[in-house]
């Protein structure tokens, strides 16, 4: 039942699109896979697109927050894109703050933002 989330490389950026509801194991596996891929490819940026995700609980939020901090330790910047209105509302009501996290409306904006950030 362990399905892995595909991680694509485009120039110096890794692109991840989470397409289905994350269970705990998949989320933890993703954390490891992303960091391994960063190490292997020396990518400097990561875009994680959540367009297809219709809810985020505190566990998934923690895994995402952790993977952003871990990537940053490895010298990579992460942008989260495509957070749906319902997801933004429930995260804040739940009391979860993803602070200091770079976000963008969609994948395209996310890639632009990352590019600016990496050139700066």
């Amino acid at each position: 039942m362990n399905v892995r989330i595909p991680i694509l490389k485009l120039r110096d950026t890794l692109i991840v699109s989470i397409q289905w509801e994350l269970d705990d194991q998949t989320a933890i596996q993703f954390q490891e896979d992303l960091l391994t891929k960063l190490h292997e490819t020396s990518a400097r940026g990561v875009v994680i697109d959540l367009t297809s995700i219709d809810f985020i609980d505190s566990f998934i939020a923690k895994v995402l927050g952790d993977v952003i901090s871990m990537s940053s330790l490895m010298g990579a910047r992460v942008v989260i894109t495509g957070i749906q209105p319902a997801v933004a509302i429930t995260l804040i009501e739940l009391g979860i703050r993803l602070e200091d996290v770079m976000t963008a409306l969609d994948l395209e904006n996310g890639l632009d933002k990352l590019q600016l950030e990496l050139e700066a």
């Binding site: 039942m1 509801e21 269970d23 705990d24 194991q25 219709d54 809810f55 985020i56 609980d57 505190s58 566990f59 939020a61 923690k62 749906q84 209105p85 319902a86 997801v87 509302i89 429930t90 009501e93 739940l94 009391g95 979860i96």
Partner: protein
């Protein structure tokens, strides 16, 4: 379709099953996407609390009608250790699991009604309702 269904919580996979059940019922009842997300998230948090603190328990989903208004009731019941200081766990930012689980105040905010009964050594029963407006 019965107006009551439940999922036994024993493994991480049961958390997924419970929230999928809740989402389906919420969708059938006609809740919009934001309320569906609130209900799904609340169930996920409650099921995770059972998994983390009690080891096992049950999430029950009921359809309610009161004064002509439909609603969904989530019952999270376990025979775990109980909560020693309910007032404390209802404070924002209090967690005994190292940041896992935003906790009960978050669930309370996501839902319309929230009741908790807990007895040390016997278990905890949490009831949270969302009304369809």
């Amino acid at each position: 379709m019965s107006n009551q269904s439940s999922v036994e919580i024993q493994t991480e996979w049961d958390i997924v099953a419970a929230r999928q059940l809740g989402r389906n019922v919420a969708k059938e009842l006609g809740f919009g996407t934001v309320d569906q997300a609130r209900i799904t998230t609340a169930i996920s948090e409650l099921a995770r609390n059972i998994y983390l603190y009690a080891g096992q328990g049950k999430i029950e989903i009921q359809r309610l009608t009161e004064n002509g208004i439909n609603g969904i009731l989530i019952i999270a019941a376990d025979n775990g250790p109980g909560i020693p200081d309910v007032r404390k766990v209802m404070e924002d930012g209090f967690s005994t699991s190292g940041g896992l689980g935003a906790g009960l105040p978050g669930v309370k905010r996501l839902m319309d009604d929230f009741k908790i009964e807990t007895t040390l050594g016997e278990g905890t029963d949490i009831r949270a309702t969302k009304w369809l407006r």
